[in-house]
């Protein structure tokens, strides 16, 4: 009985959702042929009404569907609805593209400027972010190992790492750019510095989180310290390391983009965003933001995939409150 009712509710939700999409597309279609400043008032009112009803129908339908479906589907449908609604509203109100470009204009800009944006993405992502990220992470891991090995360093130097992580990196960026020049290397150094501190702090905590019982067990097995390190401490540090690497991946992109605000050789996504925003070329700005976002999400997703690959054993050891055993 309840299953039947639930299924009919999902069917109703799906129908409402489809209706919402149709109404929103109609809302775009009614104002599509007109120039931005030339939308007749009647058409504008019609389009706004269609948009309003479409959003309500789509939203109701989506919430009914989302209660029953899992994964990314509800989020993707919501984004689709939102994009069409934005397109309709921007066109109906005649918002100039120099202020907020419509989604279709952004997609056109993305396609038209693809070679420039690809080149920018290569400089920002491959050279600055990836190189800086790898250097910062490797250095951070080495320093963390040293800090765990020598307790003096841990007590004397590690508190500074905590302090440094509350410093705004943008204040650091111009100094580094002035010191190391305009090439991509100065931005890679900014990225390395931003990545370094979270990695150090988290890896040290991870190495120390090893279960004392397990270490005692190792001792009863008479293993060497090196073996105990490799078999107990390193695995227990891995979740912390990956947590740090995920935090650092987003910080790295921010560091590279902000670094480019302070000087480049005329390439890079941050440079493109800064310079085109100054010229009110917001189509290109949005296109660059889309590229940066896709790269940022992909970077994060790759690290998460590696994490699942190498610490899959860990999830099974979680307690109900989410803390590790």
């Amino acid at each position: 009985m309840t299953a039947v009712r639930a299924r009919s509710r999902v069917a109703l939700g799906g129908a409402l959702l489809a209706l919402g999409f149709v109404l929103l597309l109609l809302a775009v279609w009614t104002v599509w042929p007109y120039a931005l400043d030339g939308v007749p008032p009647g058409r504008k009112a019609l389009s706004l009404g269609l948009t309003l009803v479409g959003i309500i129908a789509g939203g109701l339908g989506l919430s009914a569907v989302a209660a029953r479906t899992k994964g990314l589907i509800p989020a993707l449908i919501a984004a689709g609805l939102a994009l069409i609604a934005v397109e309709a509203l921007l066109r109906a109100y005649g918002v100039p593209p120099g202020l907020i470009p419509t989604p279709t204009r952004v997609m056109q800009a993305l396609w038209n400027a693809r070679s420039v944006l690809l080149q920018d993405a290569r400089v920002t992502f491959v050279q600055e972010t990836l190189v800086g990220y790898l250097c910062g992470a490797v250095l951070g891991i080495l320093v963390a190992l040293a800090a765990v090995r020598f307790p003096f360093l841990e007590r004397g130097a590690l508190p500074y790492a905590g302090l440094f992580s509350s410093i705004p990196i943008v204040a650091l960026a111009p100094v580094i750019v002035k010191a190391f020049g305009l090439e991509w290397t100065s931005k890679a150094i900014i990225v390395a510095v931003t990545v370094f501190f979270p990695v150090v702090v988290n890896v040290v905590r991870g190495l120390q989180s090893a279960n004392p019982l397990l270490l005692d067990l190792m001792r009863t097995y008479a293993v060497t310290p090196a073996q105990a390190f490799a078999l107990v401490r390193v695995p227990s540090a891995l979740p912390f390391l990956f947590n740090a690497l995920k935090i650092a991946s987003t910080l790295a992109m921010i560091g590279a983009i902000v670094g480019e605000f302070f000087g480049t050789e005329g390439r890079g996504l941050g440079f493109r965003i800064q310079i085109e925003a100054g010229r009110f070329n917001l189509d290109i700005v949005w296109a660059a933001i889309v590229v940066a976002s896709v790269l940022g999400i992909a970077f994060y997703a790759i690290i998460q995939w590696i994490e699942h690959r190498y610490t899959g054993w860990h999830a099974s050891r979680r307690t109900s409150n989410g803390r590790t055993v």
Binding site: A66, L72, A75, S165, S166, K178, V204, A277
Partner: protein
Amino acid sequence: MTVLKRVPARSAGNLGPMLIVAVVVLALYWPLMLWVNAAQAQRTLDSGAELDCMTAISCATQLRNPTLPAPAQLAASFRTMSTPPMAPTSAPYNTLVTAGETLVGLIIASVLGVILAVALVASRAFERITLPWLIASQTVPVVALAPMLAVVLGQYGVQGWLPKALIAAYIAFFPVAVGVSAGLRSPDPMQEDLMRTYRASGPQVFWKLRLPASLPFLFTSLKVAATAALIGSIVAEISTISYSGLGKMLAENSRASDTLALWVIMLYGAALGIALVGVIGLVERWVTPWRAGQSR
């Protein structure tokens, strides 16, 4: 940005080693500075510029725009930029301006973040629709949006300190939402069962159990959000037309290649970041006194 746990700073046992490390770093700074600056000084000497020093080493501490400033230069520059403290061009005044923008941004961000977190916990469907985008937005380089937001807000007449606070709020808002929604879900199922045996109503469970349980998460994410908001307001000052603030000073002195000033502003920015996190730590101790013993 996921929660960045912090190393306990300055517990009594660490003070000695911390001081020794600081002294060693400062002692190493001097030869490093001489080594880095000597090459630049030599080039300046070779170009035949009029300098009141003879050798590269003695000039290394007197360059106008050194890569690494000598401590005396830094101190002198610090003094000139900090006095009088409330002049519109002085660093302390501009630091306060940025601090104000960041604080307003943080307040907006925490109000919106808590509301969103409550909605996320209340409705499964809402969570499924928005949570993937919230997670994705954490990985989006949000500073990329700042120049564009500045243009849009500026054209709608939102000017002065408000756009900076809004941009700061925009950047700080997601860590708060994600942290608080994790916190609202953090009570042990046992505790929820206990509330049920007391016949507590839904709102009572929320106010008496879920909300207090979420406070530690709120403060941990507020510390992350404070750093993020500070970055946001500084980036906003760089990319909008601003007349005051650390970001405006950074942009101006970066254009003028005044590295000494950049160093001083960086120190002020660092102090502001540390102070903000420290203030949130104090509020945390005051609001959640039951955690004072274990809040490391």
